[in-house]
C-alpha cells in the first residue's frame, strides 16, 4: 500500500463531497502524512491473526417479533428540510 494511491477526486465522489480546489490540495497533502503513518501497520505480521470488528462476544441479537410503536407518529416528516404532508421532497432524479 502506498499513499500515492490516494485519488482525492475519486474518493470525494464516493463520499458525496464536493471539494474546492484549495481543499483538494490541502487535504491531499495532509493525507500523504497520515497514510505514511498508517503504513507502519505493514511492520506487523498479521498472517494468522483474526480481525476484530467488535470487542464484545456478541452474536446475533434477536427480539420477539411483536409489533410495537417505537416513536410517535407525525414527529419525523416535519424534520425534513423539504417535504409535503406525506413525502420527502428531493430534486428531480430522472
Amino acid at each position: 500500500m502506498s499513499s500515492d494511491s490516494f485519488d482525492i477526486e475519486k474518493i470525494a465522489l464516493l463520499a458525496r463531497l464536493k471539494l474546492t480546489d484549495e481543499e483538494k490540495t490541502r487535504l491531499g497533502r495532509q493525507f500523504a502524512g497520515i497514510l505514511e503513518h498508517i503504513d507502519r501497520l505493514n511492520q506487523l505480521d498479521t498472517e494468522n491473526v483474526e480481525p476484530t470488528s467488535l470487542v464484545l462476544p456478541l452474536q446475533n441479537v434477536f427480539r420477539e417479533d411483536v409489533v410495537k410503536q417505537t416513536f410517535e407518529d407525525g414527529k419525523y416528516l416535519p424534520l425534513a428540510p423539504r417535504q409535503d404532508k406525506e413525502h420527502y421532497e428531493v430534486p428531480q432524479i430522472l
Binding site: 470525494a12 487535504l27 476484530t52 428531493v90
Partner: protein, 483 residues
C-alpha cells in the same frame, strides 16, 4: 452559594439548605458570569430545567427521593433530549430538534436530574481540542489561552468552571478522559456496551461510549448507577448485571496489583507529566497497592489502527446526512447528486470531511484488505496485549496525554500531530476496556495533569474504588481555576 459536588448537593437539598430551584438559579447565575469567557455551552435549556427543578422541589417536599433529585446536570450536544436542539456542534444539524430522549436522558430524568443545557464539542466528536466546533471555541478555565481538550471539552470546562454539578460526555478515542485531564476533573469511559448508545449521535459505533464527567470519583459512581445497564434499544449494549458502583467505593484496595505499561513512559512524554504520574504511582503504593511493570507492545500501532477503523465507521455513519430526512440542505442544486454533494460540502467542517474521506478510502475497492482488514487485525493484537497484561495485574496506571493542555491554534494546521496526541487514550477504545482520568497534579504553568486508570472489561468498580481512595488521600481534585 458555594457550588457543591453531586453528593453534597443531594445532602443539602434533603436538609433543605436550599431548594432545587435556588440551586438551579445559582448555577445559571454562575453560567451568566463566567460562560462569556469559557464558552462551554451551545444551548441552555432554561425553561425545561426550571420545570424539572420545580418538580424536584415538590417531590422533596413530599419526602420522595431519587438518586439525582434536583441536581443540575449538563449534556454533551450529541446526546438527544426530546424537544431540544442536538447539533453535534455541526452546521449540518444546526436546527435539528430531537424527537425523542436518549436512553441515558430518560434514565437521568427518572432519577430526578435537572438538565440545564447542551455543551460544546468538536464537530461530531471528531477532535482533541474543541476547536472543530461550528459555533465557537471553548476555552480551558485554568488558562483561557489553552484548549479544554476534546471532544467533550464543553462538558469538561463546564464542570471545571462550576457551571454544572456534573455532565455527560462521550469517548470514542479519549474524548472524555483527555478533556477531563486538561480541565482537572474526573472522567470515566465505561466498558464498551456498559452504557446504552441509543440516542447518542453515532461517530464510530464499535468505539463510542457515554460516560460521566464530574468533580469526584464518588459523583461518577452515582451517575454510573443511573446511566448504566442493559437497554433493548441498543443491540450492542451488554446484558450483564449492573453493580452498585457507590457500594464499591469502600472496598479494600490494599491487595491490588497495578500494572505500569512501560510503553507509556519515556520518549515524547512531557517531563512534568512523567514526574507527576510517577508521584501518583508512589502514592498508590503508599496506600498498600503493589506496582509492577507490564508491557503493551503494540501501543505504537494504536493510532494508525484507530484512525483506519474509526474513520471507516464514521464514513458509513455520516452518510445519513444527505439533506433529505433531517438537517441542513443546500439551496444550490438542480439535481439529486448536486444536492447531496453541495449539502455535505456546505454542512460539514474540515475535520469531518477529512475523516469521511479517509474512511471512504480505506473501505474502497482495492484498499479494503490493505487498510481496513489490517486495522481490524491490529485491533486484535492490541486487545490481546491487554488480556496478557491483566493476567499480571488488576488495573493499569499511566498518563492520559503526552503533554498538558496545548495552546489554542497550536495543532490546528497539523492533523497528524493532533491525532498522535491521543496515543495513550486510544488503546482502551480499541480493546473496549473501561478507563478513567483523575487529577494528580499540575504542570509548572499551573495546568492540570490527569492520571489514567485502565481496568478489565466490566470492572469499573475497581477504577472508581481506587480513584475514590486516591481522592481521599490527595487534594488534587479539590483545586479549582480562578475565573
Amino acid at each position: 452559594m458555594h457550588q457543591p459536588t453531586i453528593i453534597q448537593a443531594r445532602h443539602q437539598l434533603k436538609e433543605k439548605k436550599y431548594s432545587a430551584v435556588e440551586l438551579l438559579d445559582a448555577v445559571y447565575k454562575r453560567i451568566d458570569v463566567v460562560d462569556g469567557k469559557v464558552k462551554a455551552y451551545i444551548h441552555l435549556t432554561r425553561d425545561i430545567a426550571h420545570r424539572q427543578a420545580e418538580e424536584a422541589d415538590q417531590k422533596l417536599a413530599a419526602g420522595e427521593d431519587a438518586p439525582l433529585l434536583g441536581v443540575p446536570i449538563a449534556l454533551k450536544d450529541l446526546i438527544c433530549m426530546k424537544g431540544t436542539h442536538t447539533t453535534c456542534a455541526s452546521h449540518i444539524l444546526e436546527n435539528f430538534v430531537s424527537p425523542y430522549d436518549a436512553t441515558v436522558v430518560k434514565r437521568l430524568k427518572e432519577a430526578g436530574a435537572v438538565l440545564i443545557g447542551k455543551t460544546n464539542m468538536d464537530e461530531f466528536a471528531m477532535g482533541s481540542s474543541n476547536e472543530n466546533s461550528y459555533f465557537h471555541v471553548t476555552k480551558n478555565p485554568w488558562d483561557l489561552n489553552h484548549v479544554p481538550g476534546g471532544s467533550s471539552g464543553g462538558s469538561g470546562a463546564a464542570v471545571a468552571a462550576n457551571e454544572c454539578m456534573g455532565a455527560l460526555g462521550s469517548d470514542t478515542g479519549g474524548s472524555i478522559r483527555q478533556p477531563a485531564a486538561f480541565c482537572g476533573i474526573t472522567g470515566l469511559k465505561p466498558t464498551y456496551g456498559r452504557v446504552s448508545r441509543f440516542g447518542l449521535v453515532a461517530f464510530a459505533s464499535s468505539f463510542d461510549q457515554i460516560g460521566p464527567m464530574t468533580k469526584t470519583a464518588e459523583d461518577a459512581a452515582i451517575l454510573m448507577n443511573v446511566i448504566g445497564g442493559h437497554d433493548p434499544m441498543d443491540s450492542t449494549s451488554a446484558d450483564v448485571a449492573l453493580p452498585d458502583f457507590t457500594a464499591a467505593l469502600s472496598n479494600d484496595v490494599k491487595e491490588l496489583k497495578i500494572g505500569i505499561p512501560k510503553e507509556y513512559f519515556g520518549k515524547g512524554l512531557n517531563a512534568d507529566i512523567e514526574k507527576t504520574v510517577l508521584e501518583a504511582i508512589k502514592t498508590l503504593e503508599s496506600m498498600g497497592m503493589q506496582a509492577i511493570e507490564v508491557s503493551l507492545p503494540h501501543t505504537e500501532y494504536a493510532v494508525a489502527a484507530y484512525y483506519i477503523l474509526a474513520c471507516a465507521e464514521a464514513s458509513a455513519n455520516l452518510s445519513r446526512y444527505d439533506g433529505v430526512k433531517y438537517g441542513y440542505r443546500s439551496g444550490h442544486a438542480d439535481n439529486l447528486m448536486d444536492m447531496y454533494t453541495n449539502t455535505r460540502e456546505e454542512g460539514f467542517g474540515e475535520e469531518v470531511k477529512r475523516r469521511i474521506l479517509l474512511g471512504t478510502f480505506v473501505l474502497s475497492s482495492g484498499y479494503y484488505d490493505a487498510y481496513y482488514l489490517k486495522g481490524q487485525k491490529a485491533r486484535t493484537l492490541i486487545k490481546q496485549d491487554f488480556e496478557e497484561a491483566y493476567k499480571k495485574c488488576d488495573l493499569m496506571v499511566g498518563p492520559i496525554a503526552p503533554a498538558p493542555a496545548f495552546k489554542l491554534g497550536e495543532k490546528l494546521d497539523d492533523p497528524l500531530q493532533m491525532y498522535l496526541s491521543d496515543i495513550f487514550t486510544i488503546s482502551a477504545n480499541l480493546a473496549g476496556i473501561p478507563a478513567m482520568s483523575i487529577p494528580c497534579g499540575q504542570s509548572k504553568d499551573n495546568l492540570p495533569i490527569g492520571l489514567q486508570l485502565m481496568g478489565k472489561h466490566f470492572d469499573e468498580e475497581t477504577l472508581l474504588n481506587v480513584a475514590h481512595r486516591y481522592q481521599h488521600t490527595t487534594d488534587h481534585h479539590l483545586q479549582h481555576p480562578t475565573l
